[in-house]
Amino acid sequence: MTAIYVHIPYCIKKCRYCDFCSVPLDETASIYCDALIKEITLRKKQYPDLHADTVFFGGGTPTVLPAADLVRVLESVNHAFPLAPNAEISVECNPKTASNEELRILRQGGVNRISIGLQSADDQLLKRIGRVHSFQDFQNTYNWSIQAGFSNVNVDVMHGLPGQSAEQYLQTLQIVTELHPHHISAYSLILEEETPLFYDVASGKETLPDEDQVADMQDLGIDYLSSVGYKRYEVSNFAIPGYECRHNLTYWNNETYLGLGVAAHSSMEERGKRYRFANTESIRSYLKAVEKGKIPEAEKILINTFEQMFETIMLGLRKTQGIDLKMFEDRYGCSLLETYPAAIERNQTRGLWDHTDPRYLRLNRRGMDLMNTVLLDFKDTNYFELLRP
């Protein structure tokens, strides 16, 4: 499996909690898709034999660009890295940025999954976190998506928002699930440094629910979603069985992915070695580089096998299914359980493993909550000790 991610760095307005790479729509937007197509050509030379199983347009807000432009990029991807017949092709969309017509163009152009950012069904809360849309705007976008023929729709919701109560959050979930989307991403707000919300919280202008309230919301949310048929398959992701996001599973399975566009991250194999690299975060540098026919990379690091093993654990434990032990052994030539006995034992003592299927190393629900603690134990495993006979 290889995934292709396309970053569209534009938004109408940045949300108060957002630290992603995004800028207001400016004059670069009109030439951005052409630049993407140039990068695709450059990447094709790098990876001539690459076939993609999923494509994901993320942002920013991809739908602030004309749908036809996105379709043009998709065609270029398909041309360079032939897509599997059943490829999953997602576009992220914020309410108020895509019309009925544009959604239709996306669908007809081959996009088969739409991911809509709602965050909350409470209009006042939406305003408070700097969203530009109302619940009604979301409702419209959702209906148009269904009308356009999308049969795989995700809705993003958040908890832990300023002033948000558990009741408010559950109400949002109830309203959303009544629409029967195929997939729901339900995130805890991460207060990122240097965002407007961060400064408001630091100065006391805004207050967030405390640690326990957030945990309560998350727990209530997980229970509620499961009661109405959405299975939690990753920390923050829920789906009607069969509708799990294959693109994102590529990350959590630690498989390869190629990121296109400004600030896009990639993890690819070259001559049997695994690398992580990222494109420049500056739109101007990005445009200049591809114009000159240069790969717009800002950093590239080699990931040694031991690091890859850790990444596979760090990402794989996010899935409720856990890590496929046979896959691990096939990939790295060593048994996970035998390589990290201390970390596994410590969390056995803490009672954080789910032992229902011996083919997987799997966290139970409490274990999922305390994943950071679990990972630190794996991090303590010393590479050089492993090398000793």
């Binding site: 991610y5 640690e211 990350y251 990121g259 992580r276 305390l370 994943m371 630190l376």
Partner: protein
């Protein structure tokens, strides 16, 4: 060549912090041509960074100047700088004993402060002539007349002739120099008598070893002399003698009346004790100079490396500091919570702060210090008397007949409007009121007896904040008193944390127990299980708080662009774990020990 004693003046400067002692010294050195203006570094005598920043003198030092008086003769001035804090009271008394006079610098905008007064009395006790000087008269708020009256009223010395100066601009500093000649008596002494040299400080030098700073009272000493310490009986061969001009300058010989240094390849400053008398081994003096005493530490605390791996670095650093500071004592200590470290003894709280600050700054160490403790006397039921400076060594309550704690006599000077709040502070700290008198209109002198234990936490800071910085404070030890003391322990998840134990008065135990438990609740991060925090006296729990179990620490989002960042975050947290100490099953951040240090309930 024999020095004419009538042309020598040995003196020191007494002043409160910030009243301008070092500035005046700088100006005098400049005006006597001891240092050129070009080489003048602000506050030459305070050479340590900490001294300059805090505006206090930690080590004594000395400088020799030559002054041309209006009588046409040239006088040799030896200025001996004294440490400016109560912790170093003994050092001050020895430095003063090396002089015949003292210049008392009083800030014209402030008046006399408690510590200044204490040092003036010390000077008078040592038979010194006191020469008052009113400084900062160039400031708009200066009230020289008022301050002159204050000096006459409180100290009882005439001050109408006192030079009104500005050490900063040099205004009238010439008058000070001239009055030193006129008022400070020349030294007396007999160069032909057996050597008597008073050590008023010592300093460690990498090449010369421990170098004694001395005032010669009788006799003479030169390179090659065989000298003997009258306190220890140790004998050394003098390798070099010299004077301060202002840096070390070798001379042929030091004679009665002079101030200088003696180097004798002495390995450690512990062998050159301040207050000791040096004489000649083959022609010793009959009697040592009076006033020598062995100084014992007053305050103890545990010092540990924040990262246990740095134990040896800490040991090296303490050894280096001790080379130059004989009053610092330390020995290996092992704490269940903090691992390997040192029990360190200090002259007082400031001394403790200076040492820990120097360890961190000059040796780049990250430290954890435990609650400071005074030295208690413990009388056991089986009739033994123990000296306890570490709560961990206290016998069980059932074996203790009674305990005694060190007391101090405190002098507090304050503008009268703060008397109420200061009295309240003193009462809260178990102080017994002695008396109160008006120094002058609007200024009050309060005297109290209170336990040393009560002033080693935040007494001084509280005093300053209650009086908006105007009250000053001085104390001297005043024996031991029977006291109802208990050992206050803290338990984390049922395990006692020895590093947090402290000895407190019974009446204070509840307040302190509660305050520390509350603080610990805030500074101990949530862990996988609920952590009860208990304050206990023996088996009796007097306060309880709970750190709730961690609910979630998982990162909500981890997509393609988050992976590298997430790995870095874990790396950082792994580093952070190294700074955690294990108390039983509980991880406690090193900072937590520090944050409860100053809580005094």
């Amino acid at each position: 060549m024999e020095q004419d004693l009538s042309l020598i003046r040995n003196f020191s400067i007494i002043a409160h912090i910030d009243h301008g002692k070092s500035t005046l010294a700088d100006r005098m050195m400049e005006m006597t041509g001891t240092v050129s203006k070009r080489d003048m570094e602000e506050q030459l005598l305070d050479s340590m960074d900490i001294e300059r920043e805090r505006g206090i003198t930690i080590k004594a030092s000395a400088v020799r100047m030559f002054y041309e008086h209006s009588d046409g003769k040239t006088y040799m001035f030896n200025l001996i700088d004294t440490p400016g804090h109560v912790d170093f009271n003994y050092e001050v008394s020895r430095a003063l004993a090396a002089c015949e006079g003292a210049v008392l610098v009083v800030d014209a905008t402030q008046g006399i402060e408690a510590q200044t007064l204490a040092n003036v009395y010390l000077a008078v006790d040592n038979g010194l002539e006191v020469l008052p000087v009113i400084n900062k008269v160039d400031l708009p708020s200066a009230e020289p007349e008022r301050v002159i009256h204050e000096i006459e009223d409180i100290i009882g010395i005439p001050a109408t002739e006192a030079p009104c100066i500005s050490a900063k601009t040099g205004f009238n500093v010439e008058q000070v120099l001239s009055q030193i000649v006129d008022i400070v008596p020349p030294p007396t002494g007999n160069t032909d008598a057996p050597l008597k040299a008073l050590i008023f400080d010592c300093i460690y030098d990498n090449y010369k070893g421990a170098v004694s700073y001395v005032r010669i009272f009788d006799g003479e000493v030169r390179a090659g002399s065989k000298i003997k310490s009258m306190a220890t009986g140790n004998v050394f061969d003098v390798t070099e003698v010299g004077v301060f001009s202002p840096t070390w300058k070798e001379v042929d010989c030091l004679q009665a009346g002079e101030v200088g240094y003696i180097a004798a390849s002495i390995k450690s400053v512990a062998e050159t004790k301040v207050g000791d008398t040096i004489t000649l081994a083959d022609r010793p003096a009959k009697e040592p100079l009076p006033g020598y005493k062995h100084v014992n530490p007053m305050v103890y605390c545990g010092i540990y490396p924040a990262d246990g791996a740095h134990y040896n670095d800490l040991k090296d650093a303490l050894e280096k500091l001790q080379l130059n500071d004989a009053s610092l004592v330390f020995e290996h200590e092992n704490s269940m919570a903090l691992g390997y470290g040192f029990r360190c003894g200090f002259l007082g709280l400031l001394h403790m702060e200076i040492i820990t600050e120097r360890l961190e700054r000059e040796f780049d160490l990250d430290l954890v210090t435990t609650s400071p403790s005074v030295v208690y006397r413990v009388f056991t039921v089986d009739g033994r008397e123990l000296t306890i400076d570490n709560p961990a060594s206290l016998p069980p309550a059932t074996e203790i007949e009674h305990m005694e704690e060190p007391m101090v006599k405190a002098t507090i000077m304050t503008p009268s409007e703060y008397v109420g709040t200061i009295m309240e502070l003193c009462q809260n700290n178990r102080a017994v009121f002695l008396d109160m008198n008006y120094i002058e209109e609007g200024r009050v002198n309060l005297n109290y007896i209170l336990p040393l234990n009560e002033i080693i936490y935040d007494f001084f800071d509280s005093l300053k904040s209650r009086s908006r910085g105007y009250a000053s404070f001085d104390y001297e030890l005043s024996g031991y008193q029977k006291s109802d003391l208990v050992k206050l322990d803290f338990l984390l998840n049922g395990e006692m944390c020895d590093a947090l134990s402290t000895i407190v008065h019974k009446d204070r135990a509840y307040g302190k127990g509660r305050a520390v438990a509350e603080k610990l609740k805030d500074v101990i991060p949530r862990q996988q299980f609920e952590i009860p925090i208990q304050a206990a006296i023996g088996s009796k729990i007097i306060a309880r708080e709970t750190v709730k179990a961690v609910r979630k620490d998982v990162l909500a989002k981890c997509y393609g662009g988050d992976i590298t960042r997430k790995k870095k975050l874990l790396e950082k947290q792994k580093e952070g774990k190294k700074r955690m100490r294990q108390v039983g099953s509980v991880s406690v951040p090193s900072d937590a020990f520090m944050s409860v240090l100053r809580i005094n309930g």
